[in-house]
C-alpha cells in the first residue's frame, strides 16, 4: 500500500530474466530496456518468438489505471489509437516482492525529431495531420491524451505514421489532467487550466512542433507567454504554420478537426515552402547518382538507332560512289 515515491521507480532487470505472470502464467524473456518514466520501466521482451513492450511498476494502481485506458481504446475501435494491449498480470519476483506489469504491442520506429531531420520538414504537416486525426477520434470517445510530448511519440514506417506510445496521462474530458510534463503543459505556461478538454492536447501538440527546433527546450522566464511567442517567431521553418500554432497555444481551436483543416490548407498551398533544409547527404547522394543512370538508360535506344542510320548512310554513300565509279569506267 505504501508507495514511496521517494524511492527510485526504476526497476533494473538483467537481460534474459523471465517475467512470469502470477494469474495467467505467461512467460516473457527480457531483451533490453526501452525506457523508464515516473511510474514504471518499459522493457523489450519476447514470448514465442514475438517481441513485445512490457511495462513494470511497483505502483500497482498506476498500472491498473493505464490498463483501464488501453482497454477503453480497444472497446471503442481498432488498433490505430495507441499500441494494443496484450496481457496484464503480476510477477512475483524471486526475492518475493510483487510487481504489476502489462504487455503491449511493440512499435518499432524513429523518434519524431530524428525522422524530421532525416526526411525533411515537409513531413511536419503530414505527420501532425495524422496525429490530429487520431486525437479527434480520441476526443470523440470522451478522452484527452494528456501527457502529449516528443518522448511519447514515435514514427513507424514505411509508410510513415506518427503514433503515440504511452497512455499514462489519458484522462476523461472534464476531469483534471492525470499526468503531464511541464514544458508541454498549458498550466505551467500560465495559458490555461489543467482541466482535460481537446484544446489541452492541441496546446501540447503545438509545443511538440516548436520543440523540434529547440531540442533542449527553453525556460519560461519572467513572462512565460511572451517567451513562448518569441521562441515561436524565431523558428523560420515554421513561418507557414505560425498562425495555426499560435491559435493552438491560445486555445482557439475547439476541435482537432478545425486545426487539421487549417494545417491541410497550408500544406496544400506551400508544397515547397520548407525544402530540403535538412535532408541527409546520404539521401541526396542516392538521388544524384541514380538520376544520370536513368537518363543513360533512356538515351540508350536513341543512340543505338542513330548508329544504325549512320551505318546505312555510309553504306548508301559507298554504294553510290561505287556505282558512279563503274559508270565512269564503262563510259
Amino acid at each position: 500500500m505504501m508507495n514511496q515515491l521517494g524511492k527510485s521507480q526504476d526497476i533494473e532487470l538483467s537481460l534474459g530474466t523471465f517475467v512470469t505472470g502470477k494469474w495467467y502464467k505467461r512467460s516473457y524473456r527480457i531483451l533490453r530496456k526501452l525506457g523508464s518514466g515516473a511510474c514504471g520501466t518499459v522493457y523489450l521482451a519476447e514470448r514465442q518468438g514475438k517481441q513485445y513492450a512490457l511495462k513494470l511498476s511497483r505502483n500497482g494502481s498506476s498500472i491498473t489505471t493505464e490498463v483501464n485506458v488501453l482497454k477503453t481504446f480497444q472497446k471503442v475501435q481498432g488498433k490505430t489509437l495507441g499500441p494494443s494491449l496484450v496481457d496484464v498480470d503480476d510477477w512475483i519476483q524471486p526475492g518475493g516482492g510483487a510487481l504489476s506489469f502489462y504487455v503491449m504491442e511493440y512499435l518499432k520506429g524513429k523518434e519524431l525529431i530524428t525522422f524530421i531531420k532525416q526526411h525533411g520538414n515537409e513531413w511536419i504537416g503530414v505527420l501532425v495531420m495524422q496525429l490530429l486525426t487520431d486525437l479527434e477520434q480520441l476526443h470523440d470517445t470522451g478522452w484527452v491524451f494528456g501527457d502529449l510530448k516528443t518522448d511519447n511519440l514515435i514514427v513507424t514506417y514505411p509508410p510513415a505514421r506518427l503514433r503515440w506510445i504511452d497512455v499514462g496521462g489519458t484522462t476523461q474530458i472534464g476531469r483534471a489532467i492525470k499526468e503531464y510534463t511541464e514544458f508541454y503543459d498549458r498550466g505551467y505556461w500560465g495559458m490555461g487550466s489543467r482541466k482535460a478538454n481537446p484544446s489541452y492536447d492541441l496546446f501540447a501538440l503545438a509545443m511538440v512542433v516548436i520543440q523540434l527546433y529547440y531540442p533542449h527546450r527553453f525556460e519560461k522566464g519572467q513572462d512565460p507567454e511572451k517567451t513562448l511567442i518569441r521562441k515561436l517567431h524565431q523558428v523560420k521553418e515554421l513561418t507557414a504554420y505560425q498562425a495555426i500554432l499560435k491559435n493552438a497555444l491560445y486555445g482557439k481551436y475547439n476541435s482537432s478537426g478545425a486545426m487539421r483543416h487549417d494545417i491541410q490548407q497550408v500544406a496544400l498551398k506551400h508544397p515547397t515552402s520548407t525544402t530540403n533544409f535538412s535532408r541527409s547527404p546520404q539521401v541526396k547522394k542516392k538521388f544524384s547518382s541514380s538520376a544520370p543512370q536513368s537518363r543513360q538508360q533512356k538515351n540508350a535506344p536513341y543512340r543505338r538507332g542513330s548508329k544504325v542510320w549512320e551505318g546505312i548512310g555510309i553504306g548508301v554513300m559507298v554504294g553510290l560512289f561505287y556505282m558512279i565509279y563503274i559508270v565512269i569506267q564503262w563510259l
Binding site: M1, M2, N3, Q4, L5, G6, W23, A38, G60, S61, T64, T65, V67, N68, K71, V88, D89, D90, A98, G174, R175, A176, I177, E182, G187, Y188, S193, R194, K195, A196
Partner: protein, 246 residues
C-alpha cells in the same frame, strides 16, 4: 459510497527536526484522526548527496499514512501536485480496501484480486479521487536553510491549486509556517478554495534557527479538528470516514 472529505497535511521541509516531540509519533496520531501526512524533502539544486536529516521524511509519511518524496527545489512544482494526488489515491484505496474486506472477508485487498476485477475497483478509486472534496493544510518549514527555497515553494503551491482545481471535487487549502513567532506554527493563509493571493504573503516570512517539526504537526492537526467542529455545526456533510478509522 459516501463521498467524504479527504484531509491531508503536506509538510515541506529540508531537514531534521531538532525540537519537541517525535514528528513520526504525531503523524500516526494524525492518521488516527483521519488526516494523512505527506512529506516533501527539498534538496538544494547543487546538493548531490542526500543529507541524513531527510531520512526522517520517509518515516513521518509512513507513520502518517501518506507518501513522501525527496526532490531538488527545481522539481518542486510537479512533485507537490504528484505527492498530493498520490496521497489521495492511497487514502481512497485504503477506504476501498476496507469496503472490500467487509464484503470479501478479512485479509482481502485490491492486490489480491485478479487484474480484471482490480481494474474495476481502480475505476471506483479514480472516480472518488476526481469527485471527493479535499482539504490540504500545507506546513512549510521556514527555518534559515529553507529561506532561499521559499519563492519556489510559493510557485509550487500556486501550481498545486491549479492542478487540484481542475478536479470536479471541491478543494480547500490553508498554509502555515513553522517555527512560529510565539506559537509552534503561524497561519499564512486561512482555508481558501484558491491560492492565487499567496504571492504577497511569502516574501514577508522571516526564518528562524530551530526546526520543531513535531509540535508544528500537532498544531496543524488541531487546526483541522477546530475546522471540523465548526463545520459540523453548520453542515452535516462529514463522511463516515472518521468513524471507520479514516
Amino acid at each position: 459510497m459516501n463521498k467524504g472529505t479527504i484531509k491531508q497535511i503536506l509538510l515541506i521541509t529540508d531537514g531534521c527536526s531538532n525540537q519537541g516531540e517525535d514528528p513520526a509519533a504525531v503523524a500516526s496520531l494524525a492518521l488516527q484522526q483521519g488526516i494523512t501526512v505527506n512529506v516533501i524533502g527539498v534538496l538544494e539544486n547543487d546538493q548531490t548527496e542526500q543529507p541524513e536529516g531527510l531520512e526522517e521524511v520517509e518515516e513521518i509519511s509512513l507513520s502518517g499514512g501518506g507518501v513522501s518524496q525527496i526532490v531538488y527545489a527545481k522539481a518542486l512544482s510537479q512533485t507537490v501536485q504528484m505527492v498530493t494526488r498520490q496521497g489521495m489515491t492511497q487514502t481512497l484505496q485504503g477506504v476501498v480496501n476496507q469496503e472490500l474486506q467487509s464484503i470479501l472477508g478479512s485479509g482481502k485487498n485490491m492486490e489480491e484480486l485478479p487484474p480484471d476485477q482490480r481494474g474495476e475497483v481502480m475505476e471506483v478509486v479514480d472516480e472518488l479521487g476526481e469527485t471527493s472534496d479535499l482539504q490540504v493544510l500545507v506546513l512549510v518549514d521556514t527555518s534559515a536553510s529553507m529561506h532561499s527555497k521559499l519563492p519556489t515553494v510559493q510557485d509550487s503551491l500556486y501550481d498545486l491549486s491549479l492542478s487540484l482545481n481542475a478536479r470536479m471535487g471541491k478543494n480547500r487549502f490553508s498554509i502555515f509556517s513553522f517555527p512560529g513567532k510565539r506559537k509552534a506554527i503561524d497561519k499564512i493563509v486561512d482555508w481558501t478554495p484558491e491560492l492565487n493571493a499567496i504571492a504577497s504573503v511569502f516574501p514577508k516570512l522571516t526564518s528562524g534557527g530551530i526546526t520543531p517539526t513535531g509540535p508544528a504537526l500537532r498544531e496543524a492537526m488541531n487546526h483541522f479538528s477546530k475546522k471540523k467542529r465548526v463545520r459540523s455545526l453548520i453542515t452535516r456533510d462529514e463522511s463516515a470516514r472518521e468513524e471507520s478509522g479514516y
